[in-house]
Symmetry: C2
Subunit: 437 residues, 2 copies
Amino acid sequence: MQPGDRVRVERGDVTNEGVLLPSTTRDHLVVKLDGGYNVGVDRDAADVEVLESGARDVDDGADAGGGEASEITFDDDLPTVSLISTGGTIASTVDYRTGAVTAQFDAEDVLRAVPDLAGRANYRGRVVANILSENMEPTIWRELAEAVAEEVAAGADGVVVMHGTDTMQYSASALSFMLDSPVPVVFTGSQRSADRPSSDNVMNAVCAVEAAKADHAETLVCMHASPSDDACALHRGTRVRKNHTSRRDAFETVDAEPLGRIDYEAAAEAGADGDAADAAIEWAREPLPRGRGAVDGADEDADLATATDLDADVELAKFTPGMDPAAWDYLDGKDGVVIEGTGLGHVHTDLIPRIEELVEGGTVVAMTSQCLAGRVCDRVYDTGRDLLDAGVVEAGDTLPGTAKVKLMWALANLSDPAEAMGRDLAGELTEESRPWR
Amino acid sequence: MQPGDRVRVERGDVTNEGVLLPSTTRDHLVVKLDGGYNVGVDRDAADVEVLESGARDVDDGADAGGGEASEITFDDDLPTVSLISTGGTIASTVDYRTGAVTAQFDAEDVLRAVPDLAGRANYRGRVVANILSENMEPTIWRELAEAVAEEVAAGADGVVVMHGTDTMQYSASALSFMLDSPVPVVFTGSQRSADRPSSDNVMNAVCAVEAAKADHAETLVCMHASPSDDACALHRGTRVRKNHTSRRDAFETVDAEPLGRIDYEAAAEAGADGDAADAAIEWAREPLPRGRGAVDGADEDADLATATDLDADVELAKFTPGMDPAAWDYLDGKDGVVIEGTGLGHVHTDLIPRIEELVEGGTVVAMTSQCLAGRVCDRVYDTGRDLLDAGVVEAGDTLPGTAKVKLMWALANLSDPAEAMGRDLAGELTEESRPWR
């Protein structure tokens, strides 16, 4: 069995017939189907019959997919989903020399690594970055938002963003503020790389694609809902947080239920032929409808509204007991500062004059809480009242990381960014009053 | 009815007889019983009969309890519990002029405000600080630890520390590292002040006193386990976190069950006459036994071991995407830095040379994760391996705030503080290997 052979591959109930391609993973056979798709099949327990040796010429070099393999035909009956890769574990493999995980795949490689995606949609692949997400930067958030906008303008019925999990919540927040999308934008990633037995990448990718095909226009994070492979949670991009270093269900919506839940088996089955799998999704609240960006009544094919400017001169400053007040000297002259205070939104009294100076110097200073859940409320205790007198604005129950991204966006796009920190723009802040007592 | 009258107060099933004292709260009558205790009774639905007008002279000024009222007799049949006040909501009332909450009570006032504490123990009251806990500082941690040590040496069978909730977790961590106590040290506080209908202070105080009388030697945080008034959770001081700004059950043990749970009704009843309420406590794991500090075989009355030195030159530095690398300039020359990284313990690659310089300059740099739950593991991804090469030490699953306190303590007390960050000293780090996959 060699690359170029025409083969029939049976595994479980599934049979694929096509030309064997070189595979960049040890665990998968990659077969180019006659329809143009590349399908990956787990080598384990796969039964391969060679129908014709050397049926096609295929490359066997760095361009592992071969020339023709990268051509993917479009089927008018299928929805179109754009897969945008930024790197991270879902687009990575283990370096067998070092044992470390490196990001090296592009969007087409993901299709090859996740054969279960085949047939569900026409895919447009796009690489915006190829980084581990701790290296994500605001400039890339802009490029990502602009790429999503272009994909929607080009006809995508939904967009899946493959992203490293470390900073996915920041990027999902950024796109939530930057885009007013008429179609779903679904972030997904993987906590364990594809070649590990416990990998979450197949289920997360399938659920994300099905969520992107579904009837809504939310910007979501789609990741394992529990330690089992039963469902993914659909988290609002501005309310989600990676709450565990390694669990597959590390992502949680803070202080609320996730916006929705997509059943893996039901979604995989319902969407396999390109149909929408809406019945597999249970929404906790009504999602924004498709086309919501089209305020002028244009349909969902309209370009989405974008406001991708960011003011990067914003810092997140965490207060802890015993901290050196000099730690905040570098904040002088910043355009914005988000404080991660204690409890209802407090810092040591000695820091309040410093904050007052920042505000007087023109810095917008917003307060959040390191508790993470619950609203800040600086009207209760003396310290808080002094902070309000100093000109601090309260960010409600906005998560500290989301508040940083929001302030970057608000400073660049709104006439009164301080005021905006106290109200909801993209689901990041619970507007209803939840009295302190 | 005037202060100084001898009265009989009936409320529900309870009757108290004694001399009426001036009360500093609007909601409670305070009666000095013949046994020497001051008892507070909710005015609401209380039936008061004056037995003798002007039976005693009592002050009616700032020293609201009156001269004699502060004398509390000791009953040899009761255990002795020291109540140490540091301020915070549990020791506070609302300022009716401003509507804000101010810390103004000392330990004896707590007895007056929480009549349910009477009869459970002989109390020793002590004020170490009178601050809202956002103003807590390492110097006060030392004073607090030394006060606890003195109380234990003076014969306390348990110590209750009343503390503001904002930074309780940091103080509880500090005492966990500083003290090797043969008796329970139980932190408690209140999310709602005593005169609010939803106050949690009575239940928290009663549960804390009963936990302090019980048969163990843990340093705990005792706070509401749920939104109802049914039980308090007993959290290990080094694993607990205030996870909500305002809920009464804001405190949670991160990534594990609380060490124990104390049923309010059962504990209140069993301990009312001074007996231990151990049957009301359900331990998730075996607690340290009373006397554990007595490694030489001395009994629980032995002084506890203390190591209260701290190196305050330690900072917690949180990494977020888009941060200004200049934010870390002030770290140069610090004795210790705890990084709150992303995911398994990462920062932007550009920051790694800076960290390397810190380590080369003699700073101990320890890595934790802003995920909060789960272990850091820098052997998996390139970034992490580079961090390890730069000399970062991994703090396992130690919480970032706890890691900061630990490093302050380790630098002052241990010969190899960097090594110590990777192993468990006081329940802060899960030693067993939990493989990344």
